[in-house]
Each structure stands twice: as C-alpha cells, then as structure tokens.
C-alpha cells in the first residue's frame, strides 16, 4: 500500500536517482501519557461502543419508551432462543439464508447483464444512442417503487422478490460500468496505438482493466440497494427472511425481535460487502488505497 521500495544494492546506474526518490515513513516512538491514551482513536472507539450499549441498556430497562425499546440483553436472549426455536417453520439461520440467497441470486443476475450492457454502451456510440434514452427514463425510479409492480406481475412468491432485487441492482451496475469506461484518459488508448495495437487490443488492455475499480464501486452500491430491496419486498409480503422477522416482531409488539432483526441485517449486509471488497483486492491488486471513510 505505502511506497515500500527496497534500495537496489548494485544496480550500477540507477543508484543515486533512485535513492533520492525513495521516501520512507519512519515511525516515531512517543512516551505514553494519560493525555495520549485518552485521545487515542482506538481507545475512544471502545469508550464510545461501551457507553452506547450501557445507555441503551439503561433506557431499555427504564420505561422511558414505554416498552418500545428492548435492551441489548433482551435482544441477545431473544435471539439465543431464535437459534433453536422456529418462526414460521424456520430457525434464525433459515431466515438469514432466505434473505441472503435472494440477494445473491438477484445480484448475480443483474450484474451478469448490467455490466456487459454498460460496457457495450460505453464502447459503441450506436448502442449508446439506442439504449441510453430508454435507460434514462428508468434511472430516477427508486427501486422500492418497483415493489408494487413486482407483486402485481409475479404475485408474492420468490420470482417477485428476485425481480425487485434485479431492478434495484441493475441501475448502479450499468451506470458505473458505463462511466468507468467513459472516464478513461484517452491518451491511454494512444499508448496502445503507438505500440502497434488495434481497437481490440485497446479494449482488452485498457478499457476493461481501467474500468474495474468503477465497476466494483458500482457493485458495492448495488449490494446495498439489493439489501434495501429484499427488505422492502419482505416487509410487504413474505413468509421468510429477515424482513419477515422484523414484521413479525412489529405484529407481536416484540421490540427485541425487531431490533435483533435489524442488528442481524446490519451484520449480514456488512459481511456481504466485505466479500465484495475482498474480491476487489483479488481482481485489482494494483489499486491504491484512497482517502475514504
């Protein structure tokens, strides 16, 4: 990640310049003082997390929210029971898998179509001229707005949920593949031309690899859209999944079930996005880590 450059020992020619150009970060050792511990970011992380949980626990036990907020302990106990008990015929694992499999299927379907179409549009002005205007009509439509149409078309079964996810995932995938190619420095194509490559070489050697980071950014957005969509679909009509758990909790006025469901959603969504990050590291080992959140 950082510029870890070893100095060549006996290269004969490049020694001086290369040595001049290397920058090495040297870590300084400072003495531990109370002030430095208190202002240490990781220490503060722990403080903040513990305080958050404690405050939540205290509020949850008091009747400030009149029972509308379960305390962390209640949530954990409730979900300990969920691991073995069943809700609508499925244990907690079953519900997690129900949602995750929907997300994965819809996500895979959408990216398998959207990315090639986006690449194709960016590379061919005629394809662009045909597809772009129609795509622009659908682009500003919020994914959740499709829930109703999906239920009218496919009923409340699996196909309608997959459909919603595909729709919600499609737009960012296509858009990022498209802009990823559009934003490539045109001089990079000149490099290939000068080296004797043809249009095909330009696409394979420059367009595809240079658009990978943008495509992965699109996949991240798509994935979070996919979770929103699957929840929307499950909230409206379903017999399984994490959204179903939350709705059940709402119907039974069981806030520990609702909050626990939300926590599980956060964990699972976070895990899937971590998988995309790992995949990106594997596919694009050359990508520099940028200042981000």
């Amino acid at each position: 990640m950082s510029a870890m450059i070893k100095q060549p020992t006996n290269s004969g020619t490049g020694d001086r310049a290369i040595a001049n150009e290397v920058q090495e970060a040297v870590g300084e050792k400072k003495p531990m003082t109370i002030y430095r511990v208190i202002t240490n970011e990781y220490f503060l992380y722990c403080v903040s997390t513990v305080t958050f949980l404690l405050v939540w626990q205290v509020i949850g036990q008091s009747d400030m929210f009149k029972g509308a907020l379960a305390s962390p302990v209640q949530v954990v106990l409730r979900f300990d029971r969920m691991l073995t008990d069943t809700l609508a015929g499925l244990t907690l694992w079953g519900h997690i898998w129900a949602s995750t499999s929907r997300v994965l299927i819809g996500f895979a379907l959408a990216s398998a179509f959207a990315i090639p179409i986006g690449l194709f549009m960016a590379l061919n002005p005629y394809v662009d001229a045909i597809i772009k205007p129609v795509f622009d009509i659908f682009k500003p439509m919020p994914p959740i707005a499709w829930v109703s149409i999906a239920i009218l078309w496919f009923g409340i079964g699996e196909p309608s949920k997959i459909f919603i996810i595909v729709i919600g995932t499609f737009v960012p995938c296509l858009l990022n593949a498209y802009t990823g190619i559009r934003l490539i420095e045109p001089e990079l194509y000149d490099v290939v031309k000068v080296l004797g490559g043809n249009r095909r070489d330009e696409i394979i050697q420059v367009s595809f690899p240079a658009s990978f980071p943008a495509i992965f950014a699109g996949l991240q957005i798509s994935l979070s859209n996919a979770w929103t969509c699957v929840l929307a679909a499950e909230l409206v009509a379903s017999r399984s999944g994490l959204g179903f758990i939350i709705v059940q909790g709402m119907k039974m006025s069981d806030t520990s079930l609702v909050i626990g469901g939300m926590v599980i959603i956060a964990i699972v969504a976070w895990t899937t996005s971590l998988l995309v990050i790992i995949l990106e590291k594997l596919v694009c080992p050359w990508k520099r880590k940028l200042e981000g959140f």
Binding site: I5, K6, T13, G14, E21, V192, G196, A210, P285, W286
Partner: protein, 271 residues
C-alpha cells in the same frame, strides 16, 4: 531484444549507402483543431523539418505552442490539416511500432507491473512470452530499474515512472523515439540526472530521437540540433541551431553558456 536489434542494425547498414536521405521529413505541416464543436484553433503553421538518421533533434518551445501536437502528428496519432510526414520516404498515416512515444504524463498502465508495462509492445505484436520477457528485462536493466519489475506504477516515484515509459517505448524496437517533455514533471536534480541517463541510453542504443522540451538547458545538453518554435499560436518554426559541443557536455562549459545566452535572447524576441 534480438529481433529489435537485428532490425535496427540492418537498417543502419542500408542507411550507410545513402546517407543523404533523411529519416523523417515534415513537409509544410499545419494543424487546425476544432474545440467544443465550434471553435477552430490554428495550432501549427507551415512546419518543415528533416531529421537525419540517429540524430538527436530537440524541439524547443514554451508551453501551449503546439509541440505535443507536432509530435503526435509524427507519431501518427493526429492527421495534419495540411502537409505530410514522411518516414523513410513513406507517408505516415497511422501509428506504428516503428515509432515509440514517451508521454509527458507517463501514461503507464496502472494495472500492470513494471514488467507488464515494458513487455506490452512486444506482447501486442505477438512476440512469444519467453522472448518478450527477455526483451523487457534487457530494457528494464538499461534504464536501471532492475529489482523493480514487480512493482506497480503507484509504488514508483516520478523519475522511475518515466524510466518505465522510456523502457516501454524502447522495448518495442522502434527506429525513431519520440519524447514529449518526458522530464517536465520531475524536480530539478532528478531532471538533470535523467538527462544524463537519456544521453547514456541513447549512446548505448542509438536511435533517431525527437525530443520535445521547454527547457533551454536540457535542449543544449542533449541535442545534435535544436529546432525552436515561436511562442504563440499558431506555432511556427523560429530558428534552427546546430549544437556541435563534444559529449558528454558540461552545463558550466563556456561554450555551453554562450549558446544558452544566444538561444535565450532569440527566444525572448519571439515571445
């Protein structure tokens, strides 16, 4: 590496027989760009020059006077609005592996290692893997980047990036090297060092070189001949200087300083 050397050495033998045909001829080149779909910009006007075989020709001019455009026309990346470019008597219409271009802003493939970048030319021209590895390794060593083969461009400093750019152009075995302000983004020290390196590399692997710069010192240090362009659009040829100082040159040599004074005076006149 074999094939590249073979091509150029054979070429030199042919050239001995008719020393007077120049390598590159630019005949009355003009270039007009159309910007934002509505505005015509006249960038180059009536450029005529000849480059001899194995000559180190420097094109000198301030920023925005059309130097890059001229080089891109010779590389075949732009077509001139008027006039023609001849390479060995053949009209240039498109880019080809006989001309190697080094870009001002490096233009390395961020997704390929140093080795991957340098072997790109042979790869595109269908050289088998083992052989192109050997060619690439030769030029990586030549520019002094051995042990950095597996680094990605973002792990390299500016000077090292430009070495990769130079090695990449060389590895394709071009007869003509075109360098577009290759050291424009480097600090002064690295720049001087890279100029010495360029001269060393040129002495080892003789090629016809067209080198674009805005730096008078750099021009005098490297050039057999300097063509200076006028400082405003459209770019026209201002004057030509033959530099016959012995190599390697010294920046503090009296003759060097004298030349420098002369060219500086002349170019401030045209600004």
């Amino acid at each position: 590496m074999k094939s590249a050397d073979y091509a150029s050495s054979q070429y030199i033998c042919l050239e001995r027989d008719n020393m007077n045909t120049p390598k590159i001829v630019c005949q009355n080149i003009s270039k007009i760009f159309i910007q934002k779909g509505t505005q015509r910009v006249h960038v180059l006007q009536d450029i005529s020059l000849e480059v001899r075989d194995n000559e180190f020709l420097v094109i000198l001019g301030p920023g925005q006077c059309g130097k890059s455009t001229l080089l891109r026309i010779i590389a075949g990346l732009e077509t001139p609005s008027e006039g023609t470019v001849l390479l060995d008597g053949q009209t240039v219409t498109k880019p080809g592996p006989d001309r190697g271009l080094v870009f001002q802003s490096y233009m390395l493939f961020a997704w390929r290692t140093v080795m991957g970048n340098v072997e790109m030319g042979p790869k595109l021209n269908g050289v088998p893997k083992a052989e192109r590895r050997k060619i690439a390794q030769h030029y990586i060593n030549l520019v002094g980047l051995q042990k950095f083969e597996n680094h990605y461009p973002h792990q390299l400093s500016g000077g090292m990036k430009q070495r990769v750019g130079i090695a990449r152009a060389y590895a394709n075995g071009p007869q003509v090297m075109l360098l577009d302000e290759p050291f424009g983004q480097l600090d002064a020290q690295t720049r001087i060092f890279m100029e010495q390196e360029t001269e060393r590399i040129w002495q080892t692997e003789k090629r016809t070189v067209l080198f674009v710069t805005n730096n008078i010192d750099e021009a005098i240090f490297l050039a057999d001949r300097i063509v200076s362009l006028e400082g405003k659009l459209p770019g026209r040829m201002a004057s030509v200087y033959d530099i016959d100082l012995p190599r390697p040159r010294e920046h503090t040599d009296m003759k060097f300083l004298h030349l420098r004074q002369m060219i500086t005076d002349a170019s401030t006149l045209t600004l």
